[in-house]
Amino acid sequence: MKILTITLIIFLIFPSSYLKADNQDKLNKITKNLRCLICQGQSVYDSDSEFANSMKTLVEKKLDEGLPEDQIYEYFKNKYGEWILYNPQLNKNTYILWLLPLFLFLIGGAIIIKSFIIKK
């Protein structure tokens, strides 16, 4: 607990913008989160199909134009649908996806406490 607060303080002192990733890192990060439509099991980053290569070029162009990351995702989402994003956004379609595991975790904790720790 003590150390958690310490690291939290450290984190607050050095804001995250301290780390400035250059475009190449950003490009890799974004293309890893885009799903390739040709080889549908792979990310754009991992694929070398023509489509994926064009996607990489386009992401690079958009980055050069200064578009922020989330707008690039939004752009591709508009073109190809939510399917293209590997990182599902939190919306009415995905509440269950994101929250069910956490909910199960809480339930599990509750069961453990109820049946083994309180009951003596």
Partner: protein, 626 residues
């Protein structure tokens, strides 16, 4: 031709024996005190016939008998012998035959090796296992017969997908299936034990060995698949959270949980319901994985020939097994421990419960992430993808308390009594935090979650390392496994944080240079093998510390089937891997070159080997104590 016939009729005979075994089990169930030799010999005969059938398929592959459809679809005369053989299980039909072989092998070994358990229990285990076996016999014969006959006989086969022509992938399926399908015996025996109400400490001791076998093979199988993916599939990634990978991870998580849970049961008769549920879940998850992969309901990098009929068969079969387990669980199992579980909350049992709690959470993340797109599609026709960011976001934060619990858990017994230990625990904790902070600060990677993660992994690392030198600490296999796990997490983290990558386009003779690395594209050679032609690109790479490496990635064009693959060249050293791969670009005369330096890559593999080694020690230790 003749092999196909023998193979096919062996399968039929195996099925008939399976049905006969039901009858003999029924006859012997009430009136025998020793296991009937007929049952044993028939089980052996069944194994024998499946083995014959499997060998026939191998022979058909070896002699390239293209009158067999499976051979025609997956082999070619120019293929090296090794890949002809491994082609046997590199396809849907052959791999299912391997499933069947493992199923029959395990039940035979189970009957032979199980001593000191009631005969009724053995017979009932056999019955449940035979339900699975007969189901698979029917599945194989009806929907995926590996011995289908083609007339007229083609002169040449279609060939094996070149990315499967690889040594790691050749032995990956047999190893993986030993773990994956091996869990069936846990399933059968837990159902038998539940029906007979003999779940106890002695049963736990006996089943633990089988859990360990499955677990060891599953761990190694996943490792092999991962190594293969590393150098064959992508650009240096080794885990893609692809459905097929998730499907093998889920039974592993369930098995690992079960392995911890059984440690409690072998000492005290508690948590029985939980052990039953976990044992059922393990094999059910394996089956569910088979369904997801073979039915084509998900799309993934590794696709098997998809056929909705097959999917439907496995689905129905899977749910029959689930229904059967539910009925047996609710009809026969009464939690006999109505008396309070009186363990102190700072006890080993609590720590194992907490382990179970986290493991189940990880399992639920993987399971939900894998099947959610199917559910969403069916319910609302919305299509989404669930990829690595989802799993990372939900799993990584929970790893921190998990790692810390792995340190404290095994020590809970001592915490109260000995001051010295407390001092060690706290001082190591502080050291790990400082170290993690310094490491990350030096590399300008000041990210909160990484610092905490690395410090907790380092913490586990130091504590387990220290425990090797303490004599009072007897549980060596546990310590090795936990040490291996900390090493694994550390290697993965460092690998992710400190990997560097250069992506560039180069023509022959050109040079790429940045502040740290100089890549010279020296020359291009050609190579002709009888199953592929290759272009070999020779690079020499100079890094900032003056080391010169020669790396030669290849582009291969396989002839049967015609598929171009790109083979990475990897130079592995103790501390880092250098990974280079080239690719053609449409209508351009340059190559796309990717060069990566990936630190601690070797340690990822080593730590997993260490973890499974711990399992092997534990397996033999129990034998020894008896």
């Amino acid at each position: 031709m003749i092999y196909s016939l023998i193979g096919y009729y062996s399968l039929i005979l195996g099925l008939i024996i399976g049905l006969l075994l039901f009858y003999f089990s029924y006859k012997n169930f009430y009136n025998s005190s020793i296991l009937d030799t007929k049952i044993l010999s028939f089980t052996f005969l069944q194994l024998f016939f499946v083995l014959i059938s499997f060998l026939c398929l191998i022979f058909s592959f070896v002699i390239s008998d293209f009158s067999n459809q499976t051979v025609f679809n997956n082999s070619h005369t120019t293929k090296p012998l090794f890949y002809k053989i491994s082609g046997t299980w590199g396809n849907h039909e052959g791999s299912l035959l391997l499933w069947l072989l493992v199923l029959t092998l395990f039940i035979f070994l189970f009957l032979v090796r199980t001593k000191n358990q009631p005969v009724k229990y053995k017979i009932l285990t056999l019955v449940f296992q035979q339900i699975i076996i007969v189901g698979f016999f029917l599945f194989l014969i009806k929907t995926s017969n590996p011995f289908n006959y083609i007339f007229p006989t083609p002169t040449e086969g279609l060939g094996l997908n070149p990315i499967l022509q690889d040594p790691a992938l050749a032995i990956h399926p047999p190893i993986l299936y030993l773990g994956y399908v091996g869990s069936s015996i846990i399933f059968s025996s837990v159902l038998a034990a539940t029906s007979l109400k003999i779940i106890s400490t002695s049963w736990a001791l006996h089943i633990k060995k089988w859990i360990l076998i499955s677990w060891i093979f599953l761990t190694l199988g996943i490792l092999l698949g991962s190594i293969w993916a590393y150098y064959e599939l992508g650009w240096g990634g080794f885990w893609f959270w692809d459905p097929v990978e998730n499907v093998s991870l889920m039974p592993w998580l369930a098995l690992t949980t079960l392995l911890h849970c059984i440690l409690v049961l072998e000492k005290k008769s508690i948590l029985t319901s939980w052990v039953i549920i976990l044992s059922i879940a393990t094999f059910t998850l394996s089956m569910c994985g088979t369904f997801l992969v073979r039915s084509g309901i998900l799309n993934s990098v590794h696709t098997f020939a998809n056929d909705p009929e097959r999917g439907l068969f496995i689905l129905v079969f899977l749910f029959i097994l689930i229904l059967l387990s539910i009925l047996i669980f609710f009809l026969f199992h009464k939690d006999n421990n109505k008396k309070s579980y009186n363990f102190f909350w700072l006890s080993k049992e609590t720590s194992i419960l907490i382990n179970n709690w986290f493991m189940m959470y990880f399992l639920s993340v993987v399971l939900i992430g894998t099947v959610y797109p199917i559910f969403l599609d069916v319910i609302s026709s919305q299509k989404i993808s669930v990829g690595p960011p989802f799993y990372h976001k939900l799993i990584i934060p929970f790893l921190i308390p998990f790692l810390i619990m792995m340190v404290i858990g095994p020590k809970l017994k001592w915490i109260k009594s000995q001051l010295e230990d407390k001092i060690y625990l706290i001082s190591f904790f502080i050291i790990s935090n400082l170290l993690a902070y310094l490491v990350l600060k030096n590399f300008n990677q000041n990210i909160l979650i990484n610092t905490i993660l690395i410090s907790s992994a380092l913490y586990l690392f130091f504590i387990t390392l220290r425990d090797f030198f303490i004599k009072k600490y007897k549980n060596i296999s546990q310590n090795i496994a936990h040490f291996g796990f900390s090493l694994l997490i550390l290697s993965i983290l460092f690998n992710n944080l400190f990997s560097s990558e250069i992506i560039t386009n180069l023509k022959v003779g050109e040079t790429f240079e940045d502040s740290k690395t100089k890549i010279v594209f020296e020359s291009v050679d050609q190579k002709k093998e009888h199953n592929y032609n290759a272009i070999i690109a020779n690079f020499s790479i100079l890094n900032s510390s003056g080391e010169l490496d020669k790396l030669s990635p290849e582009l291969r064009i396989y002839n049967q089937p015609v598929i171009a693959t790109s083979e990475a060249d990897i130079k592995t050293t103790l501390m880092s891997d250098k990974f280079i791969v080239i690719n053609l670009v449409q209508n351009q005369d340059f190559f796309n070159v990717r060069y990566q330096v990936k630190p601690f890559m070797l340690w990822i593999w080593l730590s997993v080997i260490l973890i499974s080694f711990a399992g092997i020690i534990s397996f033999f230790k129990k034998n020894y104590e008896k």
